[in-house]
């Protein structure tokens, strides 16, 4: 196809971001319509790519960017079964966040046009990360996502927003710099063979597959650190609860929905694809981090008083599940890890929307202060229950297909390695997950209406909020009934990846 559709996926939100940026003064209020239009166009483009999965390979683009005596960098974009789901998720969530935030107070009161600029700028970076097939471009886009998020937290966030914003910024920036060193090492190692430091994914991967285990393991560690902080995996997770607690709802949705996936995407796309021997070297470490994350995340959830912080920790637990699936290094493990990334993106978006609404409709997100909200706000309560159920892995909803097959893949792996007792961790995490969700639901939605706070101003879900969450709920149910709709993209990709890992 000659039509540069992948470039457009980056270009359209970029134009939207610039337009909303300059809409100062009296036009600030109408910035949301511009943002809605541009994110809708992006979504349509993403859907077009999604439904043309036969012609993925012909969509890829590559333009020479920087060419010097020693370095060769290209602007290359490509989609495959792994990236298309993330591209779709990004486009969908950005559009829904624009819709959801249309009447949000936290946005409307202070420079609303900048909020939409930041959203669209973030979309540019996310699209770039998920489609890049050149390390330089990948890294640039990876960092481009940081600045809008930093501003989103420090402008539109809660009371401790400055601390949270700078913590988020520094943590992830340090991590990505470590990753950068890994990229340099790969580039120069590959250059010993090819003669020029060519940063394209394909040329580096080709050389890397033939490199000895020690080097692969070293570089894997550097890259993995960068990605694990982003995911975030315990013990590199401490920035996430702070960032989420302070971020505005729209920011949280994107942060948890698609930005965390950048980490797991990077592990699969770069660590596994380019460094198969490194992956097998660190396999047990990956599994250990995954196990600790799922249990610790779930355990920490129980102790949380802030509803949003609880959901943040649940993200750590669910991303741990992704890590566990990847750690199996098996067909089923990776396939369903990717599915879990997609599933978690959909579910967590609803979760954060619900939590955000709790904050600005009821006035507080402190669980002990809440109670009996179901009677006052029935629609809100329905969404919350639905999201909690989806998140704890109720069969028939998308979360089930993310978690249980991963655990099954893990089971196969530990049976083969005679370590069946490790399954206890998974069981523990499942129990804890069901526990904290049900307990939180009981304390916030049911029982007698709370008297600790004034509920007289609390009103139910607005139209735009309803629309955004309803779309997500439909998708959660749809992919829950028919997971094959997403798996058909992932399976061909993992088949190819397993061939690479088969080098082991």
């Amino acid at each position: 196809m000659d039509f540069p559709i992948l470039s457009l996926l980056i270009l359209v939100p970029m134009i939207g971001a610039v337009l909303t940026l300059v809409m100062g003064g009296g036009r600030q209020k109408s910035a949301k319509y511009v943002a809605a239009a541009f994110s809708a166009v992006t979504l349509v483009l993403a859907l077009f790519v999604l439904f043309n999965s036969d012609s993925f390979s012909s969509m890829s683009e590559s333009y020479e960017w920087i060419k010097t005596d020693f370095v060769s960098i290209s602007f290359s974009l490509a989609v495959d079964g792994l990236s298309i789901l993330m591209v779709f998720l990004t486009a969908l969530l950005v559009f829904l966040v624009v819709v959801f935030s249309a009447e949000a107070e936290e946005v409307e009161t202070d420079r609303p046009n900048y909020f939409h600029t930041l959203l669209l700028a973030m979309e540019v970076g996310l699209m770039g990360v998920y489609m890049a097939s050149d390390y330089f471009l990948f890294y640039v886009m990876w960092e481009v996502t940081l600045i809008p998020m930093y501003f989103m937290i420090s402008w539109y966030g809660g009371p401790r927003r400055h601390y949270a914003a700078i913590k988020f910024f520094i943590y992830t920036h340090v991590a990505s710099l470590v990753m950068l060193i890994g990229i340099f090492a790969m580039g120069f190692k590959a250059a010993e063979v090819t003669g020029v430091v060519d940063f394209s994914f394909a040329s580096i991967a080709t050389v890397m597959h033939g490199v000895e285990e020690g080097f692969q393991a070293l570089v894997f560690a550097l890259l993995f650190f960068g990605f694990a902080v982003k995911m975030p995996a315990v013990p590199f997770h401490t920035w996430l609860p702070d960032a989420h607690t302070e971020a505005p709802t729209g920011g949280s949705v994107l942060l948890a929905g698609v930005m965390l996936k950048m980490g797991s995407y990077g592990i699969i796309r770069i660590c596994l694809e380019a460094l198969p021997l490194g992956a097998s070297y660190w396999q047990w470490v990956i599994i250990a981090i995954g196990l600790v994350s799922i249990v610790y995340g779930a355990y920490a959830c129980i102790a949380q008083k802030d509803l949003k912080k609880m959901v943040a920790f649940s993200s750590i637990s669910h991303m741990g599940m992704v890590m566990l699936g990847i750690g199996c290094l098996s067909d089923a493990g990776i396939t369903f890890a990717v599915f879990q990334m997609f599933a978690h993106g959909l579910i967590t978006a609803i979760l954060f929307m619900v939590c955000g609404m709790t904050g600005h409709k009821v006035g507080t997100r402190e669980i002990p202060l809440l109670g009996g909200l179901a009677g006052k706000m029935p629609v809100y309560a329905t969404f919350m229950m639905f999201a909690f159920m989806a998140s704890l892995g109720l069969p028939g909803l998308v979360g089930f297909w993310g978690e249980f097959p991963v655990i099954f893949a893990f089971y196969e792996f530990i049976v083969a390695n005679d370590m069946l007792w490790l399954l206890l961790f998974c069981m523990l995490s499942l129990m804890l997950t069901a526990g904290y969700y049900l307990w939180a639901m009981q304390r916030t939605l049911f029982g007698p209406e709370t008297t600790k706070i004034d509920l007289s101003h609390a009103h139910d879900v607005s139209k735009t909020e309803f629309a955004a969450m309803a779309v997500l709920c439909v998708l959660v149910a749809f992919f829950g009934m028919w997971p094959d709709a997403a798996l058909q993209f992932i399976e061909p990709y993992t088949d190819g990846l397993i061939d690479i890992l088969g080098v082991i």
Partner: protein
């Protein structure tokens, strides 16, 4: 174009001669016209003419020498261009700046032009004495330029500090040069390298090197020779601070490149004898310089002092070139010097513009700036993020090349992965992360905090133009680095293998 038919034997120094004539005539123009703006126009015209001639010669690829003393090569041409850009940025805003109203502008422009002539002279020299003379011309002009802010205690303190420390470094340098002359009987750098490769390295040779590294280390404000820089940048008028931070420092780095890279990279046997020790010495200076610069910058409340420490740190990054000593590293270093001119220069320009609008130099004075002066705040944010190395800005791209050069040696012979300097890469990236903290703090102050006043600020048009130039450069060089990087590659090849 046939430059030789126009300038004859003086082609190689034509861009300098023009500036020097400008420097000599400028006081007269001021004396006759008594108009600040006319003098400014004259100075600006001279700078632009000199720059145009240099660009034409550089693009044409003209090379040659005047009397075998000053050489115009791809390297010196590029460095001259850099110094001219710095001078241009400083001169453009000088007339509009409130800090220069009490200056004798005839003398002021003459000093700036003379200082630039010295820098360009250094870039064209291949002889230690010539370099020494050029450096002195620059230094003495700069001392005077710093002290022009009369009746200001801070400026006086700055000037005195600058003179005393500068004099000390001059003495050290001269001492080193004299020892080298005693050992080899020549002051020509290539000849010294050639002689030493036969006689071998003696203890005195080592002492001479250390004396020179220390002496010129003062010029680039490498730690531990950096103490003067924050005081001087804070005390001087902002256009002068800009000139010193971006220009004078680059001259020091260029001296390092010209002396030590020629001795240890292109000089053949010499490299094998003294290379590693000198490389380690520079690696340690680089690591310490960037770390101290960044850490001390965190504690600063005055924006000019913060920028001063940040430029100490940036010099530390560029010193990576001296540790790695490869062609690729030198190209990357030169490129970083260019991007640094625009981002650091741009940041100083914003500070200067805001001083004209009555806003102080304290970081806390910048509260709520985004609402009062959206363009200034946005520009400052981009300059600072560029300094921190956030893509897709120029500072990221140049750091990408510079830091990557620690990982492998790229020479004409080929590329290989080297693990020797990986620790330096880690130090550098950790420093990048530290620097993000204090840059982000300024951005936060401008964008998130609310100030006492919400009044819109007007800044002089000259500042807006100069800042816009820097801004365009920072963005364009970030996205399309090849614009300058190709020149840097040619230049580094010319310096090392000509």
């Amino acid at each position: 174009m046939d430059f030789t038919s126009i300038f004859g034997d003086y082609t190689a120094i034509a861009p300098m001669i023009i500036l020097l004539i400008g420097a000599l005539v400028a006081p007269g123009v001021h004396l006759l016209g008594k108009k600040r703006t006319a003098t400014w126009g004259f100075a600006l015209a001279v700078v632009i003419v000199s720059m145009v001639i240099n660009v034409l010669m550089l693009v044409d690829g003209w090379t040659g020498s005047t009397l075998g003393m000053v050489y115009y090569t791809d390297y010196s041409g590029l460095m001259m261009l850099l110094f001219q850009i710095v001078l241009f940025l400083a001169v453009v805003v000088s007339n509009a700046s409130v800090e220069t109203t009490r200056f004798n502008v005839g003398a002021y422009y003459a000093l700036l032009m003379a200082a630039s002539t010295g820098m360009m002279f250094v870039a064209g020299s291949q002889d230690l004495m010539m370099i020494f003379v050029g450096v002195e011309l620059t230094s003495i002009s700069s001392y005077a330029a710093v002290s022009m802010k009369r009746n200001d205690a801070r400026a006086a303190e700055a000037a005195v500090k600058y003179v005393i420390i500068g004099g000390m470094s001059t003495a050290l340098t001269l001492y080193g040069i004299s020892m080298l002359y005693g050992l080899t009987g020549t002051t020509n750098i290539a000849a010294i390298a050639a002689t030493t490769s036969i006689t071998g390295i003696s203890f005195v040779f080592g002492i001479a090197l250390v004396a020179m590294i220390a002496g010129y280390g003062f010029k680039i404000a490498a730690v531990p020779f950096h103490m003067w820089a924050p005081d001087v940048y804070e005390g001087a008028a902002t256009p002068v601070s800009l000139f010193l931070a971006t220009g004078s420092k680059k001259m020091g780095l260029s001296v390092f490149f010209q002396i030590f890279l020629i001795m240890f990279v292109s000089g053949t046997a010499c490299a094998k004898i003294a290379g590693p020790e000198v490389q380690y010495l520079f690696a340690i200076i680089a690591a310490v310089t960037m770390t101290v610069g960044n850490i001390v910058a965190i504690a600063q409340n005055n924006i000019k002092r913060m920028l001063a420490y940040s430029s100490i740190a940036q010099a530390g990054y560029i010193l990576i070139v001296m540790a790695v000593m490869s062609e690729y590293a030198l190209s990357a270093g030169l490129f970083h010097m260019f991007t640094h001119v625009f981002m650091k220069g741009g940041a100083f320009l914003v500070v200067g513009a805001l001083i004209c609008a009555g806003i102080g130099e304290k970081i806390s004075d910048y509260r709520g700036l985004a609402k009062r002066a959206p363009f200034m705040a946005a520009a400052m944010m981009l300059f600072l993020f560029s300094l921190a190395g956030i893509p897709p800005l120029a500072g990221f791209t140049s750091k990408f090349f510079l830091f990557s050069s620690t990982m492998g040696v790229g020479t004409a012979a080929g590329i290989s992965l080297e693990s020797q300097w990986i620790w330096l890469a880690f130090v550098a990236i950790l420093n990048s992360a530290i620097s993000l903290y204090y840059y982000a703090r300024v951005v936060k102050t401008m964008y998130v905090d609310t100030g006492e006043s919400a009044e819109r600020i007007k800044v002089p048009a000259a500042f807006t133009v100069a800042i816009a130039i820097c801004l365009v450069a920072v963005v364009v060089l970030g996205v399309y680095p090849q614009l300058i990087f190709d020149l840097c590659e040619t230049a580094s090849h010319a310096l090392l293998f000509a």
